[in-house]
Subunit: 401 residues, 2 copies
């Protein structure tokens, strides 16, 4: 009865959210979500920050600046500097999670038909946002060292793809692959962006969640080493994975002209993000609470990741291949003998949930792949869940090991 | 250096925000903002709600449902019923202020080139959102009884405009005019929507701020009296003006198919609005605090409105015409002998700020009009500010009275 003629009117629901209906089944163990562990939230630290924030109630309760509360911006600038990526206030805007940062950037930068490059596999909400913006998606494969920059370079040099408007990547502990782009590839990618004049969109929600290996600088941080590249990097980050998603505090660091246009677009979109939780976040960061609490999260994730990788090796052996990640929340794996869409119903029957990898592909889906998140379940549940996965595999009738 | 080819890339800044730079001048009295009075916030009630909300920290800190926290939705359904407009959970979604409700609705419903009707004058952020969505804006004039529905009816009957996709109106205590659409016109508008099959978008942030006259039912509430009209009404409301903008809690009530698509669009836009302030809002409403506190706000606004209208009559006499509003935050006025753009620099020199009416016109701007908000300043500041306006008028060299 209604004429839904807008390009935005007919989005498909998220394939991951489709699985959420099984979460309420009693006894279900879920490796499906991208949620951080609720029992690792710094409840005491956040309660204290809440009290300090509300000591100035008007700051919490009145409309705030569209680009974010000045106190929070100051803290985020310090945080970026501590991560080796200093930035200026005019480059930074606060958003309702980094998801909104992406939405604003795409609305400002991407016209229908523009070419946009993504990693393959990639975060489904990004693919969805690109489709709704009517971008032409070009994919570049990912391996254990992240995005294959040589492949992209060849595509550009040989004129096989148009120069993209932008390239989207999660270079550190990627969702879904857990892979981290090597330093060499980062430098090469920055040079490519300068040469061909396209924006690199670095989405970095997981970078602080390293529990093994050496830190690799962000693309934003490495712009200092590649002349001209600072103009071609937009960086997203968020407190969702390192503090709490319920703050909905994300931020964008972008060249000033792009940041300014995102702020003007945000006036129309929601006027400002929630000043109240911005004030809480500012107090939490000013107190040094993130620095104190973060090791508890990364240590817990290290144990959970070890438990998952160990159990996968023990229980599934050669039936599964994966690289153990050095941080983040995800193990990306491939099954040797069965499609993950065939495994899923058996897994659900065994009361364990994962995301079939097909959800993460814009094209040419790898039907043997799957994403397992170790962040939320306890270690014992992880071990139990992997045992259930092994039983589900048995139930498919395919041989293990 | 960047190719800003997206239709969303080049929004003009808000003409009202342009004035904000003067707010920081010492001694400035502002009638320009649309902000509620900070000193009327229920700080104690909200502090108590904050404590109760955080007693269940995971609910505040984890991701929440895209359509809103169930507890808050339940409270908003009760609130809508108490306002004479009952609705179902599947019709209601929580948004980051009602500004986001409009953005989501326009993205889902409006394709480039679609005709959209607005009142004239209208809220500038709505005009901006419509332009960015590439709608074709058709305006219908407003008088003391709100939108001229007969005028719209004639335009449609005579085929002078295409049938619109939707019509946007603030029917109660409109921004900027303060006018309230009469009950008769509401019924006529609902019948027109059913006949021509267009959506009425009822934006209702101010409806609870009545301090004089009789309550007029909302368009949503009146759908019960006009068969078939429920399918053609989308209703926005918000806690920004009656509790606090810093919660950023708005909501949309829409036909289920439209509400569902807005929720799917919101997955891509920001995943969910802030669960933390949603939980605080739910606790605040469940406690009955809004019902207890609201009379304090309306009584204060009545006194402020009386002070402004009295001072305008006393100090400016025949040099200004206006209708005293029965609620809301705004007095809309016309000057007899001077353009408001000519008055503004003299007003700023006298340390008083208002918004020239031209900001609210999509076309054929009325250069004699201006908007004065009485919500934020104290009564004495209102009286002082109007005296300054009178001096500014003198300074233009035009005769008063």
């Amino acid at each position: 009865m209604y004429a839904f003629t807008s390009p935005f009117a007919n989005p498909a629901g998220s394939p991951i959210r489709e699985l959420f209906k099984y979460l309420s089944e009693p006894g279900m163990i879920s490796f499906a979500g991208g949620y951080p562990a609720s029992d690792l939230f710094d409840v005491d630290g956040l309660a204290a920050a809440q009290t300090r924030a509300f000591a100035q109630p008007t700051r919490c309760l009145q409309y705030g600046p569209t680009d974010g509360l000045a106190e929070l911006k100051a803290q985020l600038i310090l945080l970026m500097a501590s991560r080796g990526a200093p930035c200026a206030a005019e480059e930074l805007l606060v958003t309702t999670g980094s998801q909104q940062g992406l939405d604003l950037l795409l609305r400002v930068m991407v016209a229908p038909g523009d070419v946009v490059v993504t990693e393959q596999p990639a975060y489904p909400a990004t693919l969805q946002a690109l489709r709704l913006q009517q971008a032409k998606i070009v994919t570049v494969p990912v391996d254990a060292d992240g995005l294959n920059v040589d492949h992209l370079s060849a595509l550009l040099r040989e004129g096989k793809i148009a120069v993209p408007k932008l390239l989207y990547t999660v270079p550190t502990f990627a969702n879904p692959t857990g892979a981290t782009l090597s330093r060499e590839r980062r430098i090469a990618l920055l040079k490519l962006a300068v040469e061909y004049r396209f924006l690199i969109v670095e989405d970095d929600p997981y970078g602080d969640l390293r529990f093994a290996g050496e830190t690799v600088p962000t693309l934003l941080g490495l712009t200092a080493e590649v002349p001209g590249s600072r103009d071609w990097v937009v960086h997203f980050s968020s407190l969702s994975k390192v503090v709490a998603p319920g703050l909905r505090v994300g931020w964008t660091v972008a060249p000033p002209e792009i940041a300014r246009r995102c702020v003007v677009a945000k006036q129309t979109v929601d006027l400002c993000s929630v000043p109240w939780t911005q004030a809480i976040a500012a107090e939490y960061l000013a107190d040094g609470a993130l620095t104190r609490h973060l090791p508890k999260i990364t240590e817990a994730y290290r144990r959970k990741c070890d438990a998952m990788c160990g159990a996968l090796r023990d229980k599934l052996g050669d039936a599964i291949q994966f690289h153990a990640p050095q941080g983040g929340m995800f193990v990306w794996a491939r099954l040797a003998a069965v499609k993950t869409s065939e495994l899923l119903p058996h897994a659900i029957a065994q009361k364990v949930l994962f995301v079939p990898g097909t959800a993460f592909f814009a094209e040419h889906a790898d039907e043997a792949s799957l994403r397992l998140s170790f962040a939320a379940p306890a270690v014992t549940a992880i071990e139990d869940g992997v045992a259930r996965l092994a039983r589900a595999m048995d139930a498919t009738g395919k041989k293990i090991g």
